[in-house]
């Protein structure tokens, strides 16, 4: 059993990721995309694919690097530090885990094409303002040739540029997951202008005709392939939020050491010192929960529910605290668009809702702990 300390290999992975991201995707990269009216940079994703990040959870025989969930979380955490914009979580983490749990003959092609960067996936689950996969109403009617899918989805992250969609729908058998082309007839995708300058779409499905082989796993058994993928995705979102919190915190500490008021550095004020120290403690505890989630996913994934929900719940609270303290301690400049802190605050708000908010995961924890 690998413990909660980072291994030498993991440290090397983090360091190489760090140096790549600092050069290829600093915060100014996201800002540049936004100013150019874009939400996605295919070149950046192509470089990540070339480094094996798209295949981080894909077996080597399908062209992946198969580094495991802890590694995926560490990569996500590094991306969170600069808000690096890519379909990493939706494609390399969620979709790859879905296909890894599906029958091999059908999933091998999808895995290969994810690892090679040919397929970008978006996962369409939500239909209302909160994550509630069990309440999905999108319906796939049985037909002679297969299914006919109708309904609408919201908050489909990376849905605006993905070429494949995973749609969670209800069939007569129960919850069923479909793998469809984004340009299939009857699919209408409306990309939204999101606060975090990233991409999420609303999708309308109008009598989309599908063959039975569009089903991933089997009809009525979506959760068999989806549950592990959601756990992986939730851990990766928690990791991104933790990286985001660390970076927002570091910026804030640097500012406390630089800004002078009343003739002294504001970092000399005990009122601010104690709040900064409190935030540091919260981040440390959240990092432990995150590391634990990665280890449990790697070592006993069937028991990952509690560990993942704990990491997600903690990371959302910590990121929220980090960005609100970040803006407050920067004062007026923290409110300006010119300064990066606002980007962190807005991304933290989006991550808070993606794949279950604090309340959703707190409820899971309560059930797991007999409350």
């Amino acid at each position: 059993m690998t413990g909660l300390a980072q291994t030498t290999d993991e440290t090397m992975l983090v360091e190489s990721a760090r140096s790549f991201i600092d050069q290829a995707a600093p915060v100014s990269h996201l800002r540049g995309l936004r100013d150019a009216g874009k939400t996605y940079d295919p070149d950046l994703w192509a470089q990540m694919v070339a480094m094996g990040w798209a295949g981080v959870l894909i077996p080597e025989n399908a062209g992946g690097s198969d580094m495991g969930f802890t590694a995926a979380c560490l990569l996500s955490q590094e991306m969170g530090k600069t808000l690096a914009s890519s379909p990493f979580i939706s494609t390399a983490v969620i979709a790859a885990t879905v296909f890894r749990h599906a029958a091999r003959d059908k999933s091998q092609k999808a895995l290969k094409e994810i690892a090679s960067g040919h397929r970008i996936y978006a996962m369409a689950i939500d239909e209302r303002g909160k994550f509630a996969p069990e309440q999905v109403r999108t319906y796939a009617k049985s037909t002679d040739k297969g299914y006919e899918l109708s309904g609408s989805k919201v908050f489909v992250v990376d849905g605006g540029f993905a070429n494949r969609l995973l749609i969670l729908a209800r069939t007569d058998e129960g919850l069923t997951l479909f793998d469809i082309a984004a340009d299939a007839t009857g699919v209408e995708i409306s990309p939204n202008s999101m606060i975090d300058s990233r991409n999420a779409a609303n999708i309308t499905l109008d009598q989309v005709a599908l063959k039975s082989d569009a089903i991933v796993g089997s009809a009525g058994k979506a959760m068999k392939v989806l549950a592990p993928a959601l756990h992986a995705g939730q851990a990766a979102v928690a990791a991104e939020a933790t990286g985001l919190a660390i970076a927002a915190f570091d910026m804030t500490i640097a500012y406390l050491k630089e800004r002078t008021q009343f003739g002294v550095k504001i970092g000399s004020f005990q009122a601010l010192q104690h709040r900064a120290a409190h935030l540091w403690c919260e981040i440390e505890a959240t990092r432990s929960a995150l590391m634990n989630a990665g280890r449990v996913l790697d070592q006993s994934p069937q028991d990952a529910g509690l560990a993942v929900s704990l990491a997600k719940a903690r990371a959302m609270q910590t990121a929220r605290l980090a960005v609100s303290e970040g803006v407050q301690m920067h004062g007026g400049i923290g409110m300006t668009d010119e300064f990066d802190m606002g980007f962190y605050m807005k991304r933290a708000r989006v991550l808070a809702e993606w794949l279950g908010d604090y309340g959703y995961h707190a409820e899971k924890i309560a059930q797991a702990r007999g409350l």
Partner: protein, 386 residues
Amino acid sequence: MIGIEEPEAFRFAVRAWIAENCPAEMRDGDHSPAHICWGGRNWVFESQAQQLWLERASAVGLTVPTWPREYGGAGLDRTREKIYREELERANARLPLQSFGIWMLGPALLRFGTPEQKRAYLPPIAQGKMRWCQGYSEPGAGSDLASVQTKCDDQGDHWRVNGQKIWTSYADKADAIFALVRTDKHAPKHKGISFLLVDMASDGVSTKPIRLISGSSPFCETFFDDVQVPKDRVVGEVNGGWDVAKYLLTHEREMISGGGTGVSGGRALGAVLADAYPDGLADQTLRNRAVETEIDALAISLTLDRYKDQSSAGQGVGHASAMLKYLGTELNKSRHEFIMSAYGSNALEWGAGFAEPWLRSKANSIEGGTSEVMLSIIARRVLDLR
């Protein structure tokens, strides 16, 4: 007898040893303060079983599992120590001995003591023959601990001590005290302190219990009136006591911080609610509070594990003790607040078992350095804010 096997073999060996040696009465999982075996010259065992358990455990060094064998320990590394603790828990066994000597003085002596001091003081701690108390705070030196004023004058062939300590836990029951005293009043305050060992039976030492809000009196005032102390009782350098004091405080903080995580004997909050509300909750806010407390408890407990794993892997853990002390004690206070509200008016009677630990928990974020001192330490040492 044990300690050299591979971890899994060690687990079986220690499990068998506990099964054979821990008396049935000591396997009731009772960790409540009234049943702790503190040891000492005047210790009265609550039962023959308690005495037997102490003798058997100390004979193989398992009262202080990580201390070197030559000083009464079992020489276990952290991995095997963890296994030993897990096996104790598994057997529902009480700890054979607990004391400030084990938690605080021992580690400080191992680090700073002379070979003679180690030989003289460590084995009696390990065997439960000598009970120590801690003389740090003074009426004028609380959070500003380095301003201690208790005078310690060099009289050539001995030290002469005059002054007063406060919040000395169990001073009235201890055999000896490790105290911070001022050996140079002209030096800057951190540079004139020495760490001195004083026998409580010395002429001129007296104690007076302080009654607390919880009704009990574990804390005392301790007075030194022309007390003569042999010259070889200073640990570390004369005027170098602050280094010893700080090192010891990190151990004290780790000990205090463990109370709140619910992994070391704390009650699971789910069990609290089930017990207090067999017919359904009074309101949902109770459950929400329980979940939030549980989330923090799990994260802190994992942080403890992570730091242990990091130090086993030879990685630094920085100022972990200040952080764990702050989060752990604040959490423990929340847990007791929650338990009090869960039981409502049933918790309000003295002796019902709720109010005393609730009130006691309020001291957690004061003793061993307040939460505010911990935050200041983190701000200065970790974040370099000044």
